[in-house]
Amino acid sequence: MELLVTLSVGVLVAGGVFLLLRARTFSTILGLALLSYAANLFLFASSYVRTGLAPISSLKDVPFPDPLPQALVLTAIVISFGMTGFVVVLSLRAYADLGSDHVDGGGDLPADAGTADAREGSG
């Protein structure tokens, strides 16, 4: 079980970092999302991972999971949602203002190319 969690964290981080290093804002957002999953899983597992535990302390005779990482991760999920939302809008704003969705705002891609793609996609 520990090995599975470890490998999951590794795969998520690797995928997240790779996408983070791409040049387009949308890939970066996906990368951030993957990294958030990884961070949440990592935080959650920082104590121990067990199946079949009782999370509510009124149920006697059953071992409890560690509640502290859970509380941390719960807030982390919500915060990472706030961050994702902000970054998404930032990328939209950058695209609108700069005419390119390249992270450096370079105009190496003609602004119309994206629109042409979008038209094909929606049409």
Binding site: L34, Y48, P65, D66, L68, V88, L92
Partner: protein, 936 residues
């Protein structure tokens, strides 16, 4: 405490002159003089105690862990320097009032001057190595400000920069030296270090420590080969040159030699380095001084030369030589400060300082000329003046050096040559400027300056004569305590060696050296033409400034190329460097310590978990592989999110699962909305190399994080959660420990978090409000014109009340069972978001109202007021409260303040999510909804 005030009064007083200058220049000078004068009087009040052998001190621990204490101490040496700093400082303040022209910002000048005064007092009164260093650097900074005072002059800026680089660089070396010294002595208290000189000198680290400390002292006191910054510092106004660059700041280096004399002096290394550098500086600078045509440059090199004499005295290492060094510090301060002010008067009155233009000023400036004559004679070392006394004693001591520098006659011969040039440039100063025929073509016709401007010069010249004629009576006692402190009588005990302060010592070798120097000097002055020609033409000496400029230019070039290599303007590059640094930071410890595994019991992997893992890997790799095709990548990443949610269910974390699944829905809707506007495909623009490189980096990052995760998971658990588990019900009134932690134990964190959420939502709102909508987004069909599928619309509308009920249910039971404000808020938000999906922005917006901002505010306010409510009953912010009530029909009901707090969380979350999505939805509707568009 008095000691601290002596430093603090000028420091705090520095703000007065710029303020008082609005009432006039004299008022500004009076404010500066008032601050310096108050400090001077305080210092005088300590004089009787110090003269009686007492050492007033103050020791306040500041940062004991690094050995930095606010430790001040005034012994004889500190007192001598305090008198120089405050006494000459007062004279300079008077002088500067008349020297500065109307165009010069006087308030700023005095502010810098007082700032310097406080720093320099700090240097000489510190009893802690690091405190001394702090003040030392402050003197470098204030000197920089003062040299660059006329900031419109390029040479002022260059001179200031050069002084700062050289003295600041020396300060860095000194810091390293002080750290070593502190380690050798086991303390950073200066008086304690002075008491254990033998330990310091026998340490294996003595040599490197000494060289580093000396680098600091030599750069500050402009010793060869670092002497070249001082003549360039003469771009400063003359009062600054008189004060900082002859009487006080440049003496900080020799002060340090004197201060640490008992601990460092007396070894062969000390002798050869310090005396060698001092004597070389003395001779070279005196020789150069003769060939300077600028009065101030001549005086600057003369200052360097005399600092060399003082350095050489301390280098000789004998107690009596140290006495001579201290005596010469006093004498030099008196005659050199007066000469600088004298040069300033000449400059002020004639408009030039060029010795080739000046001539015969005795006719127009008779008093100034007489003052110059006396002070120059003191500088040359002629009897019966103070300069003669200390110079004679110095000559005498070179005859009794403890170590041999070549044949016995060599050192006395060299210093006699240095003395010879001293005499020559002193004659040149007086003879070329004041004697001879009256000059015809001066820029201004000179008059004697206003009396207050000449007064400081007169006081100092009188002092030179008085010390010369009656050395014992005037300076004897001061020299005794200062020299006693220098050679460590106050810290180590012992008594002062015998010396005699008088003009006539009989016919001895030192007198012969003086006579030779005076006769030779007169001859050298007669032949000055050929000496200058020799210096300017034939001798290809390397110039300090040229080397300095080349080094600085090289440094700029190197750092420029590093900056350009690292900072190419690409965020991608920066991110790569950031990730690499993070990988290195995490990876290095793992590589060195290995994957330590503990004895923690491991759980076996069940089939469900393995299946989850399989889907997670497929989803992640698929997202990466298909990221150019954005819609598909989005679908695959939602698989990952779903797996994570299910994993939380499986791993006994129902709260997390509920949160994750609702966030997942909202996030995917958000990204879909974004994709509606962004290009649907990412171009394939990366080269194979870049992809390969990034793949390696990401695999390394993943590996590093996996390793950390593995270590964490296999290390024995030691958790603080037992407290929360035990206290959840009795302390927080709830069985759902996760929720109780959120709203009660760690309520403050949660409060901060919803504030952050609110800020993010408002940031999104602001970004979208100011956004110009490009033409291309208006083409195609606006969302509102899309026909919404009737089945979907109907079902989501039916689902709304159901979802709201579920959310209420989750909210109410949150304290005891999975649920709570966050989750309920997200469920409500999802229920409303699907209305947007099913019925469109316009329809939903119409029914929701527009005051989402107010709901965010209300949520935050409720949470904050709940927290503040605890104050009413005298508890800290956010202290929870709960009790049970027996209500008919419903039975026992628990009411907790945490529920109110949770309501604030709920409202904030709902409003934040809706604000984000509603604003996103509005962008595309720019044609339907009126959004200002000023870009296309």
């Amino acid at each position: 405490m008095t000691l601290l005030l002596i430093i603090l009064i000028p420091l705090a007083g520095a703000i007065l002159p710029p303020w008082f200058v609005r009432w006039g220049r004299t008022q500004s000078a009076l404010a500066a003089g008032g601050a310096a004068g108050a400090s001077f009087l305080l210092m005088l009040s300590l004089v009787p105690r110090v003269m009686a052998g007492d050492t007033p001190s103050l020791d306040v621990p500041w940062m004991p862990s690094i050995g930095l204490d606010l430790a001040l101490r005034m012994d004889g040496l500190g007192l001598l320097f305090s008198i120089l700093i405050l006494g000459i400082g007062l004279l300079v303040i008077v002088y500067a009032r008349w020297y500065l022209s109307r165009e010069d910002p006087m308030g700023r000048f005095y502010a810098f001057l007082l700032f310097f005064m406080a720093s320099m007092l700090g240097v000489v009164l510190s009893d802690n190595l690091f405190l001394l260093l702090i003040f030392w650097e402050l003197t470098s900074l204030s000197s920089f400000l003062l040299i660059g005072y006329w900031k419109h002059l390029p040479e002022a800026r260059q001179g200031a920069r050069m002084a700062l680089v050289i003295t600041g660089g020396g300060g860095l070396a000194m810091l390293a030296g002080f750290i070593l010294l502190g380690q050798i002595a086991g303390t950073t208290s200066i008086s304690e270090i002075l008491a254990q000189g033998d330990i310091v000198r026998s340490s294996a680290l003595y040599a490197p420590m000494l060289i580093l400390v000396l680098l600091g002292a030599f750069t500050k006191s402009a010793q060869f080969p670092f002497h070249f910054w001082l003549p360039h510092a003469m771009a400063a106004p003359t009062p600054v040159s008189a004060y900082l660059h002859s009487a006080t700041m440049v003496k900080a280096g020799v002060f340090l030699l004197a201060r640490l004399f008992p601990a460092l002096a007396g070894t062969a290394l000390w002798f050869f380095v310090v005396t060698g550098v001092g004597v070389a500086t003395m001779v070279i600078a005196a020789y150069i001084a003769l060939s300077r045509h600028d009065l101030k440059a001549l005086l600057a090199y003369s200052t360097v030369s005399h600092l060399g004499i003082i350095t050489a005295c301390f280098g000789l290492g004998t107690p009596i030589a140290a006495v001579v060094g201290v005596f010469h510090i006093m004498n030099h301060a008196a005659f050199k400060a007066s000469l600088f002010m004298n040069a300033g008067i000449v400059d002020h009155e004639t408009g030039t300082r060029d010795l080739r233009l000046l001539s015969g000023l005795r006719h127009t400036l008779p008093v100034t000329g007489l003052l110059a004559l006396v002070a120059s004679a003191a500088m040359a070392g002629l009897p019966p003046l103070n300069g003669f006394l200390s110079k004679e004693m110095f000559f005498e001591e070179t005859l009794h050096a403890e170590f041999a520098m070549g044949p016995g006659w060599l050192l006395p011969a060299i210093v006699t040559i240095g003395g010879l040039f001293s005499v020559a440039y002193s004659i040149r100063y007086v003879a070329d400027a004041f004697l001879g025929p009256e000059s015809e073509d001066l820029p201004k016709h000179p008059h004697e300056p206003p009396r207050p401007m000449r007064l400081p010069v007169e006081i100092l010249v009188v002092l030179c004569v008085a010390i010369g004629l009656f050395p014992k009576q005037v300076a004897g006692k001061m020299l005794e305590v200062a020299a006693g402190a220098t050679i460590g009588l106050t810290t180590a005990g012992g008594e002062l060696p015998y010396y005699s302060l008088k003009l006539w010592h009989g016919l001895n070798a030192a007198l012969l050296m003086s006579v030779l120097a005076i006769a030779g000097g007169a001859l050298a002055w007669r032949m000055r033409g050929s000496v200058i020609a020799l210096h300017e033409g034939a001798l290809p000496l390397p110039r300090g400034k040229g080397i300095f400029d080349a080094v600085v230019a090289g440094g700029v070039a190197v750092s420029g190329s590093i900056t350009r290599a690292l900072e190419n303007g690409s965020l991608q590059r920066y991110l790569l460097l950031l990730v690499l640094a993070a990988v290195a930071a995490v990876g290095m410890p793992i590589l060195t310590s290995g994957l330590a595994t503990g004895t923690d019991v491991r759980a076996p992997a069940d089939a469900v978990s393995i299946a989850f893992f399989f889907f997670l890997v497929i989803g992640t790799l698929g997202t990466v592989a298909l990221h150019h095709d954005r819609i598909r990548a989005l679908i695959l990443i939602s698989v990952v999110g779903l797996v994570i949610s299910l994993a939380f269910v499986h791993l006994s974390a129902p709260d997390l699962a509920l949160t994750q699944i609702s966030v997942e829905v909202v996030t995917i809707v958000l990204l879909l909305l974004a994709l509606h506007l962004l290009p649907e495909r990412s171009p394939r623009e990366d080269s194979d190399f870049v992809i390969g490189r990034d793949a390696v980096v990401s695999v390394a990052a993943g590996g590093a994080m996996a390793a950390v995760s593995w270590i964490l998971l296999t290390t024995d658990v030691s958790t603080i959660s037992d407290f929360f588990l035990a206290q959840s019900k009795p302390g927080g009134g709830g069985y759902n420990v996760v929720n109780v932690i959120l709203v009660d134990f760690r309520g403050y964190d949660t409060f901060g978090e919803i504030v952050v959420l609110g800020i993010a939502a408002l940031g999104i709102y602001a970004l979208i409000q100011g956004m110009g909508v490009p033409e291309k987004w208006r083409t195609g069909s606006p969302i509102d014109e899309v026909r919404y599928p009737l089945l979907l619309t109907t079902i989501v509308r039916l689902a709304l009340p159901l979802a709201l009920t579920v959310s209420l249910f989750l909210f109410m039971r949150g304290h005891n069972l999975p649920g709570g404000g966050f989750i309920a808020g997200l469920v409500t938000a999802v229920a409303l978001v699907i209305q947007y999906v099913g019925s469109g922005v316009g329809w939903t917006q119409q029914r929701l109202g527009r005051d989402l901002h107010q709901i965010i505010g209300a949520g935050l306010l409720i949470a904050a007021l709940t927290g503040i409510g605890a104050w009413i009953w005298g508890f800290p912010f956010l202290t929870g409260w709960f009790d049970y009530f027996d209500i008919p029909l419903m039975g026992e009901v628990e009411l907790a303040s945490a529920v109110l707090f949770d309501l604030g969380v709920y409202l904030t979350v709902v409003a934040v999510v809706l604000l984000m999505l509603a604003n996103m939805g509005k962008i595309r509707n720019a044609t339907a909804v009126d959004v200002p568009d000023d870009r296309d």
